[in-house]
Subunit: 338 residues, 2 copies
């Protein structure tokens, strides 16, 4: 089987700011896995938070030798090779995993959700993300987000109260809050979450730095809102350790090396009685549609990554009245826009 | 889709005795799921230990209404319905689960191991079980088990030392010990396991009653052999609770409701750093071959249930020099013997 790849600059509709960074363009790597005349599509959207750049993704993909494998169905063997070739490089690994799954779905003429025994009618609502910004821009973004019944807002910067006041001046929608490790002490985190409990918030994602798991456990004892792990929930082995510290986990393909591990995390989280959220980076419809394929198994979706862009070259999962609508096409269900 | 079923009496080559029961015949229920001209096979081998009899299996299957479902690919929806129709009834549920998976494999013309992305060359060795018996019979059984490099012996009765002396008089093979909850106090369990550490034993399965999880944890602190949970490891939600108490789990389709949950348990056990064993009841090649399909993911197999019988009506997974050899046929890979 043959793997090729190319860069693509996703343009953001608005400058996107979270507690640690800000940007206008997100460069991703699109992967094509060609075998027996069928092309599986994958995507890597690297994040510096997890030690990746476009260059590390390209270096990793260049180093891979998939020609040694004769059958894409050998997922376990191929993905073990990919995962053990080097540590980290999780988004580069995810690109290969997505392309292999897309190939299998196309070969079997089955959408992945059907291949996994799932019903696409059970796909959940997705939230739409409002980044950190000035009151004027936030107000405009919230108005533009009118079709989305659920908003996720980024806090953890210096103007949390101002952001919340601005949003609540425009809408009474249910809000999900993502602090992206922004509250640096447990006392601040408790104070912020207690305040958010009065503001119509559904849950809080990653209130404190991932290194301070004990601090998060301390916070959880003192607040009522569910806490969802993001930077603390990277891969499969993290999941059991989060029992008693968080109420749920956010699974992202770009952190966990792809669909195969994501599904393992879903089952483990269920066993551990943790809620399951699926999030994304800024991604095209390739990676977003891949994640949407297993969304009928999860509780909370935050798969708006492609919606934040203005030049997505692919057409895949749709968001209709906030709900994920999975295409009835094989594999990840994506086709190139014409 | 249409579900039919019938009883079948599996005859045992030898009377089979474990710490709590003894028998010459094992009656199972074979299930056939017919849809679009394809027939998926399943099997229930009920165990009184888990509250089931042939009658409860038949009553449960009679109560099921699968005609309401139009598509066997809808595993999640169908199996949620099956699982929530009544509690317990795990082997009856497993029969339906196996038949659905067999149907899907046949529809796609894929063996289940390939459907799951596994390599059948990674299927493990299986042990062969020697039940509790008189020294004369045990000696004969061990000699008959000559083709099997790994033996599993049943202890936990009144003559553990005699059994071990008899076996060690005949063979130096690696032994796995299954006490089936037979050692009733933690002190006795520690004493027995310390003794077994000197006898070339690889691990000990379920030393103490399942109700005494604290006792098992106490034992584990004091012994060196790995402890594998069987009666303590029924379904998905049991797995995380066994961390720190056992070193591994024994997954059986008849306890856990089938392949779908078994695979969820495999991933959860990996996340929890527990070893994974797959065992069986007395079963025909239908249920044994189903379990063998996911065996490339596990550490220890004990899938000799069909080998203990003399009139298995099906032909499926083979055991060659102790190793499981998965057929390259679709679904569970089973066909009726002619």
């Amino acid at each position: 089987m043959k793997l090729t790849f190319y860069r693509y600059d996703l343009k953001l509709k608005h400058t996107f700011t979270i507690s640690r960074s800000s940007r206008d363009i997100a460069t991703v790597v699109i992967v094509e896995l060609d075998h027996e005349g069928i092309v599986g599509l994958g995507e890597a959207s690297p994040s510096r938070r997890y030690g990746e750049t476009i260059e590390t993704v390209e270096a990793f993909l260049t180093k891979l030798d998939l020609a040694r494998f004769a059958d894409p169905f050998q997922l376990d063997t191929i993905l073990d090779y990919v995962d053990t070739l080097e540590t980290e490089n999780t988004s580069a690994k995810a690109a290969v995993d997505i392309a292999l799954h897309d190939w299998i779905g196309k070969k079997l003429n089955l959408p992945l959700h059907k291949y996994w025994g799932l019903d696409r009618n059970n796909a959940p609502m997705t939230s739409f993300t409002i980044g950190i910004d000035t009151p004027e821009v936030i107000e405009r973004k919230v108005r533009e987000a009118e079709p989305y019944p659920l908003l996720k807002i980024k806090l953890g910067g210096s103007n949390d109260e101002e952001i919340m006041r601005t949003i609540r001046g425009v809408t009474r929608k249910t809000l999900r809050v993502d602090a992206n490790e922004g509250w640096k002490t447990k006392e601040v985190a408790v104070e912020k979450i207690k305040w958010l409990e009065q503001e119509g918030v559904e849950f809080v994602e990653q209130p404190m730095p991932a290194v301070d798991l004990a601090g998060t456990a301390w916070v959880r004892e003192r607040v009522n809102l569910p806490l969802i792990a993001d930077e603390n929930s990277i891969r499969l082995h993290d999941v059991p350790k989060l029992q008693g510290v968080f109420d749920g986990i956010n699974i992202k393909l770009m952190k966990c090396t792809g669909l195969r591990e994501a599904i393992r995390m879903v089952h483990t989280a269920r066993a551990c009685e943790l809620k399951i959220m699926t999030g994304c980076m800024i991604e095209s419809s390739v990676a977003i549609s891949a994640a949407a394929q297993f969304s009928p198994m999860i509780d909370y979706a935050d798969l708006d990554g492609a919606e934040l862009t203005s030049n997505d070259p692919f057409d895949g999962v749709k968001i209709v009245d906030g709900r994920l609508v999975l295409p009835d096409r094989p594999g990840i269900g994506v086709r190139r826009r014409v």
